[in-house]
Amino acid sequence: MVSRIGFLGVVARVFLWAFLLCLAAVVVYPLLWMVLNGFKTNGEIFGSPFSLPSHWSFDSYRKAWNRGVSDYLTTSVLVTVTSTVATVFVSAWAAYGLTRVNIPFSRLTTGVILGGLMLAPSVALVPLVKMFQAMGLYNSFWALLILYTAFRVPFTTFLIRAYMLDLPREVDEAAEMDGCGRWTAFWRIILPMCKPIITSTVLLHILFAWNEYLFAMVFTSGAGVQTLPVGLMSLMSKHGTEFPVVFAGMAIAAFPVVLLFFAGQRHIVKGLADGVGK
């Protein structure tokens, strides 16, 4: 009897592993195909889809880089960095005000800021275009910086607020006794204590800003202000028949965020779990 269960257990384990590994292959293989196609020639992509490239040359990667991908990457980095800094600071201030400062209408204010979580960006699209045209910010870096910040402040505030609520009251009292003003207490004491959640929100915002498409597509058109997701579509429409170059461009766009994910996995998972689970 025991050996029978043992045998069944082994069979179950083999099936489990076979299934999990097949699924992993389904995930990884298309990505590998993408990276490898960046090394192949057009003929090889059509003729021998499953084989390795006949010789490894970075030509297509270099071409993709020179045909706009370097510009798109620069814009993406710029938009991502600035909107991350803006979003995290504005949200941390708001979270501090909502949790540790006795402000009037605090329930209403909390509701208004966090209520933004419920609103889909596409709903505001038409009025925003009109607004940004009127402000002369249409087709500019500023449009993306402002929109990425405004639409992510609710989520980021939500995460940081939940964390600050759990910090003990005594911290503020101690700061006050030491003669710290609010401003100093925030920068010197509360913000450093929130480092774990700040890390999570920074990483989550980077993933968002690097990958966002709707606003980037609608609000930018020139090569100088396009981020990677939109830029890739331009690359595709301009060099659509030079497949290796397009694949190389995609791989270049994907690489930084995959790397970031593996480096900051723990924080990303924690942020996501807190954001959804509460």
Partner: protein
């Protein structure tokens, strides 16, 4: 203690967030409602009040209904794969003995969620491409070449193909979140169930499933809400074609406004998206509150 003035000064902390959200999130939303009652040509600048005409047009528009239907299909399939499929998968991964391998598997499954939907969509545009695409090549290699399709070029296969890509892209994300929820369940409960001779399937049904119910609820709402906001992958892979067969509310909004220059109509579609997503969010709040009271 503190004067009213001092308390009001505290508002300075929240003003930047309030202004940003108020001006760029709430105000456009309200404005959108107004726009949806206009016939509006953005290039000539002509605006004319037409009342509910845009909504009447919506009801008559077959593409609108088709888009809505595609969103619903998206929601149903995503619930099956990204909520229930992911939950089962997360539980299966827990069955792997080595925690290290558990982490590795979950990380691999998550990779598509880290890369952008644009890259994933473009990648699958090529996977589905009839001549160079991976899918047709694989079918040929398996001797099933006659099952090949121009996947995104045919009305019958285009929408399923896009939805399939979306499952590929998103299942690792929800698997990761379910894994976190499962790991928060006290180990003793599983040990007790195992000692009672409860098999893995019954442990899943009677221990895991009830104890991750809150996460399942939230994930369902997030998934449905996401399904009604789909835009990126459709735009990248088909742009709504062939013959509007893959149009969803988001892309039909975009096309109506920015391509066909009918911004009042686009605003009306936006209102529909607003009502649906707000309804889901309110339902989620209501469910969460009710649950908190009963516990």
């Amino acid at each position: 203690m503190r004067t009213i003035g001092e308390r009001a000064l505290g508002l300075a902390w929240v003003v930047p967030a309030l202004v940003l959200v108020g001006v760029f999130v709430y105000f456009p939303l309200a404005e959108n409602l107004g726009f949806s009652t206009l016939k509006w040509d953005i290039y000539s600048g002509s605006q004319e009040y037409v009342g509910f005409a845009n909504y009447a047009k919506l009801v008559e528009d077959p593409v609108f209904w088709r888009s809505l239907g595609n969103n619903v299909l998206y929601a149903v399939v995503s619930i099956a794969f990204q909520v229930f499929g992911a939950l089962v998968l997360a539980a299966l991964i827990e069955g792997v003995r080595s925690e290290r391998w558990q982490r590795v598997l979950r990380a691999i499954y998550f990779i598509p969620s880290a890369i952008s939907l644009t890259v994933a969509g473009l990648l699958f545009y090529f996977v589905y491409e009839p001549d160079l695409g991976l899918l047709n090549h694989l079918l040929q290699a398996a001797g099933l070449g006659r099952l090949g399709h121009s996947w995104l070029g045919e009305e019958s296969t285009a929408m399923p193909a896009i939805i399939a890509m979306s499952q590929w892209q998103g299942f690792g994300y929800s698997t990761l979140l379910f894994a976190v929820a499962i790991q928060r369940i006290p180990r003793e409960i599983y040990q007790a169930a195992a000692l009672d001779g409860t098999g893995p399937v019954r442990r899943f049904r009677h221990v895991t499933l009830p104890l991750v119910r809150e996460m399942t609820g939230v994930m369902s709402m997030v998934t449905i809400s996401g399904a009604f906001q789909v835009f990126n992958e459709v735009m990248v892979m088909t742009g709504g074609g062939p013959d509007n067969s893959t149009q969803v509310l988001g892309t039909w909004l975009y096309r109506s406004g920015f391509v066909r220059n009918d911004f009042g109509y686009a605003a009306a579609i936006a209102t529909v998206i607003f009502v649906i997503t707000l309804g889901i969010a309110v339902a989620q709040l209501w469910v969460a509150r009710r649950r908190r009271v009963t516990w």
